[in-house]
């Protein structure tokens, strides 16, 4: 039998959205979701809450291993289009234990419309503080973060995603009852030994640097006065 959705769809979606908005505004700080709907097999309750909040018939969702019942549940309650291609999807759902698709293969938007990009929802069993240190917009101070379903490969991929700003994808990490945001503006530094790896292409620093390995440092995309680089009219000539 089909599971019901939120008990109070309008109000539950509203407070869930506010939690997701707060999570994305202050990234890598997990927030407890206020309402958990009865979730079908194959979706964590937290994931079910987030999906009911953001999906409708105007967007598409890709999931590599979505049980048929969960797919039916999503289609019935949200009207979302379930599609077979991750590269075209507005939302990509990744279950815990699944391999994440390469972030660069997903919709990253266009230079004039970077908002036309994918949002990746990654399920995770637990949040921690052991993998990375994040900074960027939304960080009053650097924050430590970890999620059991994320690997060192993901964080290397993330560094490349961050470097494409303003293009790129955004990630929501969801556990059974909490959500953490990872917008493309977040810059991470790996903080555990085994995660130390070769820098991703295009990064000059990082490999030789002593621990903690610094990745994601990218002069072009850090806050700089508009007088430098491609920003246009050089200050000095004025």
């Amino acid at each position: 039998m089909l599971q019901p959705q939120f008990d109070k769809p309008v109000h539950d979606a509203q407070c869930t959205f506010r939690t997701v908005l707060a999570a994305l505004s202050e990234p890598l700080a997990p927030l407890t979701l206020p309402v958990l709907p009865p979730a079908p097999v194959g979706l964590l309750p937290g994931t079910a809450a987030v999906l009911l909040t953001v999906l409708d018939q105007e967007v598409s969702l890709f999931s590599a291993n979505l049980p048929a019942d969960a797919g039916e549940w999503l289609r019935f309650h949200t009207g979302v289009r379930l599609i077979d291609s991750a590269t075209d999807a507005d939302f990509v759902l990744v279950h815990d234990g699944e391999t994440l698709p390469a972030l660069a293969s997903l919709k990253a938007g266009e230079a004039a419309y970077p908002d036309r990009s994918a949002t990746v929802i990654v399920e995770t069993a637990a949040f921690g503080t052991d993998q990375v240190e994040g900074r960027g917009p939304g960080f009053a101070a650097a924050r430590r973060f970890g999620a059991s379903s994320l690997t060192a490969e993901f964080w290397a991929d993330w560094t490349a995603n961050h470097a494409r700003f303003p293009l790129g994808v955004d990630v929501l990490l969801v556990s059974a009852d909490a959500v953490a945001g990872l917008p493309r503006t977040t810059q991470v530094t790996l903080s555990i030994d085994e995660n130390r790896r070769e820098p991703v292409e295009g990064k000059a620093d990082g490999a030789q640097a002593p621990e903690p390995t610094r990745v994601g440092e990218d002069a072009e995309h850090r806050p700089t006065p508009p007088s430098t680089g491609a920003a246009g009219f050089p200050r000095q000539e004025v």
């Binding site: 109000h11 994305l24 917009p137 503006t185 006065p225 200050r235």
Partner: protein, 279 residues
Amino acid sequence: MNIEYNYGFLDENTKRMLRRGLLKAVAIPGYQVPFGSREMPLPYGWGTGGIQVTASIIGSDDTLKVIDQGADDTTNAVNIRRFFGRVAEVATTEKTSEATVIQTRHRIPETALKSGQIMVFQVPEPEPLRTLEASEVETRQLHAHQEYGLMHVKLYEDIARYGHIATSYDYPVMVNGRYLTSPSPIPKFDNPKLHQSPALLLFGAGREKRLYAIPPYTDVESLAFDDHPFDVQTWDSHCALCGSTESYLDEIITDDAGSRMFVCSDTDYCATHQQEAKQ
């Protein structure tokens, strides 16, 4: 006739579209996200963008404050506050410190904002380059290439003509070092409050159908030149009612003979100050 509206006036599909837009706006600070602006029960130019943003985020446990040029008691502010009191059953307040959502037309309160608060700005013209380049296709390209020379030339021409940068409101800012952004027509006095603000700042332009955001703790730099640094307005006078020397002052003509007084534009701040002075 008693017409029942959906909670928050907008239908759920519209709210979801706005919510998805707001999430992308937060992820790309300062970038203008297009959205399908709906017809609202008041004309464009009266805050339809801000109202739609507020309607998509507000919930029954929120406390809403609405200001118009800093004042809680002007027509626009009173009506928008009553509108949400009616369609969203929210508590309303005039106290900046008690509000969870503050919708504003053209001011940022003097009282420092707190983490967890959300400011919603009503924006008439979201595109800072529009007066310099009329074509939307063209300004999109300028943003895509981070080509903001036009704006620097405009500020430079101000200096050449007047000896200083004459823009005193809607003063352009760079958000997170990437996007040139209109802070909405707030006086440049308020620009420094945008930088590393603990509150989330959301902007809605109803007629122009654009959303944008400045997340908390984000670098916001007002454009300037090394030899003409950014500065804010100052007054020789102080508030005639509360005596504050730190707030943004409005000049009010009091009679036909040309007498005038300066008073705080932020009515909540001014009233709080007057009360403190009495005690």
